[in-house]
């Protein structure tokens, strides 16, 4: 296809729940640390947005190792939300993030709605934090329920956090380990989510056939990487067409993204922005090569704005 549009003339910017992203490619939580780790390899400020590792009220050591193992076209992880905790995050990690000049989204996890709300409220006060992403895929130890798989619990959680996040965008990250992800999306939107990110990892397990033992010390883990991309695309498509489009709530798509073709798929399925996770381990420069590829693709297609692609799936 020929067009007079040059790659440089393509507009990759997106507006996302009040945040302006120069391009749609962000990092996925837990795969890029707190920012400085990838600075030797990529200009972190060239990202559309930076998403942090989960932050919890207290420091968490996480699970015993082995915590990760490669599986066919993907990997399992059971990190166990290891993180420095809220106070050290604020004093040690924010200074670098504040220099980036791009939207920074803090991923938040907790045991109960009050912990989610307390951590979110504290992060909402920090000027460089543009978004708070609730990682609801952790078991609710008190009630024995998981916020990510029970719509009533999820709505209650988001409703509790909602009034405490006044300035930053409130994003809810959906788990794929549910019967009907659209129902969970509806619950999150009813609770006040301004954007949905999806998908988190798929529950999985792998066994060492020599020792008869699980390969992860935690026995089970979360599957990520190219293996889960078709699942993610289908879920974004479902949530976009059944919930998000009509509600006007943007989707941040992720799951197995390796290159610009994958990103185009996510946009066509209905994602407004995307995140790269596992592939950062393979190639920390992936977000940059994706942007280059996207510009060329859109120029070749004669599409001047990336936003013209969102939800354009033809069925």
């Amino acid at each position: 296809m020929s067009s007079s549009l040059s790659p440089e003339g393509v507009d990759l910017s997106v507006q996302l729940a009040g945040m302006r992203l120069a391009n749609p490619v962000m990092t996925a939580s837990g795969t890029s640390g707190y920012g400085p780790e990838y600075a030797p390899f990529i200009d972190v400020s060239s990202l559309g947005a930076f998403v942090t590792k989960a932050v919890t009220a207290q420091e968490r050591k996480g699970n015993p190792q082995p915590r990760t193992v490669e599986t066919a076209a993907g990997m399992l992880n059971a990190i166990g939300l290891a993180n420095v905790g809220l106070e050290r995050f604020v004093t040690e990690k924010i200074p670098f993030l504040a220099t980036l000049g791009i939207p920074v989204i803090a991923n938040v996890a907790g045991h109960d709605p009050d912990e989610f709300a307390m951590v979110s409220a504290r992060l909402d006060e920090i000027p460089c934090i543009s978004g708070v992403e609730l990682n609801v895929s952790c078991p609710n130890v008190s009630g024995g329920l998981d916020y990510s798989t029970n719509a009533t619990q999820l709505e209650a959680l988001v409703t509790t956090v909602r009034p405490r996040v006044r300035r930053a965008a409130l994003i809810v990250k959906l788990s794929p380990n549910v019967t009907d992800i659209a129902e969970m999306a509806r619950a999150a939107v009813r609770g006040g989510a301004e954007a949905l990110s999806m998908i988190n990892t798929l529950s999985g397990m792998a066994i060492n056939v020599d020792t008869f033992r699980p390969l992860l010390a935690n026995v089970t883990g979360g599957l990520s990487g190219p293996a889960i991309k078709p699942v993610a695309i289908r879920m974004v498509h479902k949530v976009y067409s059944e919930v998000a489009r009509d509600a006007g709530v943007p989707i941040i798509g992720m799951g197995g993204i390796q290159n610009w073709r994958d990103v185009v798929e996510f946009h066509l399925a209905g994602a407004s922005a995307v995140a790269v996770g596992t592939n950062l381990f393979v190639d920390p420069t992936t977000p940059n090569t994706i942007c280059t590829g996207l510009r060329q693709f859109l120029a070749d297609k004669g599409i001047p704005r990336l936003t013209d692609l969102i939800g354009q799936l033809r069925t």
Binding site: P40, P226, G293, F297
Partner: protein
């Protein structure tokens, strides 16, 4: 005082390496030499995170190449076994690897002019203590590679260096034997039988679990025998060890019991290699913390740890390894 050899390492970069050679050293072990842009400073103990060359933007089939070997998704960590400046502005990096799974099978399929992607140099380095007259390198299995490069660096710093290298049997010793040298079996006589160590002026004591070469027993037992006969004061000695964790634990215990300075090069399952994923934790003692221990990352705070800092698995205290 503890200082490292040379300066501090250069920041890591992602580089494409061109295969110069990929040579079998013994059953299951190969040496892969990759040529790349010059790296200003890398130090023994540091590692390279190696994987297939990245796909270009959108070219999602290029990763698959034409090879029939399954291609790993994630990179794998390999200690730098040697590094040389060549052609003025290039450098050759050696890794020695044992074929154990997907990635190492892919590596064994590499031919000259094939490409591999590297994040390098990563991790910390073996500290070189000034004032120690003797340095002993105790290794087993795939723990050999970093010790080879360390012997080169230590040889330059002119101290007495001895290597104590063990394997399950002779076929698994990734060393080139000088056939004219008789291999002592007593566990305390070092010889120049290994061409690699001899090139660094480092005599070596070999051991094997089955007695098929050198001393019968594992390398920690050889260390004990050698120490009992060497007449070296504990305070004059530093021990560096790399190999299976059980071996390193035995070496660490031996040294700690005698107040011998000891540094261990740890191995952990890694995904990122750069400190982002929290995969590669090593439990270390931390006085003053509520539990008395915490995790450090093998990829950025290691792989080299002082032996006394590590919470070894049988030391109790409710540590989760």
């Amino acid at each position: 005082m503890t200082v490292t050899v040379g300066d501090s390492p250069s920041p890591p970069r992602m580089l494409v390496g061109c295969v110069i050679a990929n040579q079998a050293l013994c059953r299951e072990h190969f040496r892969l030499t990759l040529r790349t842009e010059a790296i200003e400073n890398a130090l023994p103990g540091q590692f390279v995170h190696l994987g297939p060359p990245s796909a270009d933007a959108g070219d999602d089939v290029s990763r698959k190449g034409t090879s029939f070997a399954p291609i790993p998704l994630l990179r794998r960590a390999f200690s730098i076994a040697g590094m040389r400046l060549v052609e003025g502005d290039r450098c050759d990096i050696d890794v020695i690897y044992r074929v154990v799974g997907t990635a190492t099978t892919w590596m064994a399929s590499l031919r000259p002019d094939d490409a591999a992607s590297m994040l390098v140099p990563l991790g910390n380095a073996f500290p070189v203590s000034k004032g120690k007259k003797y340095a002993w390198l105790v290794g087993g299995g795939v723990g050999l590679p970093p010790l080879l490069w360390l012997s080169e660096a230590l040889n330059r710093s002119s101290r007495s260096v001895t290597a104590i290298i063990g394997a399950r049997n002779r076929d698994l010793l990734a060393l080139t034997f000088d056939e004219s040298v008789e291999i002592p079996v007593d566990g305390y006589s070092a010889s120049r039988v290994s061409a690699e160590f001899a090139a660094n002026d480092t005599p070596v004591i070999l051991s094997s679990d089955d007695g098929s070469v050198g001393f019968r027993g594992h390398a920690a037992a050889a260390l004990e025998t050698y120490y009992s006969r060497a007449g070296v004061a504990a305070g004059d000695l530093v021990v560096y060890t790399c190999g299976p964790e059980l071996l390193m634990r035995a070496v660490a215990r031996f040294c700690l019991d005698r107040s011998i300075e000891c540094h261990v090069c740890m191995e952990r399952a890694m995904a990122c290699g750069t400190g982002t994923c929290q995969s590669c934790v090593v439990a270390v003692h931390e006085a003053g913390s509520p539990d008395g221990w915490r995790y450090e990352l093998c990829c950025t705070q290691g792989p080299v740890f002082e032996a006394g800092r590590i919470v070894w698995p049988d030391s109790g205290g409710g540590v989760q390894h």
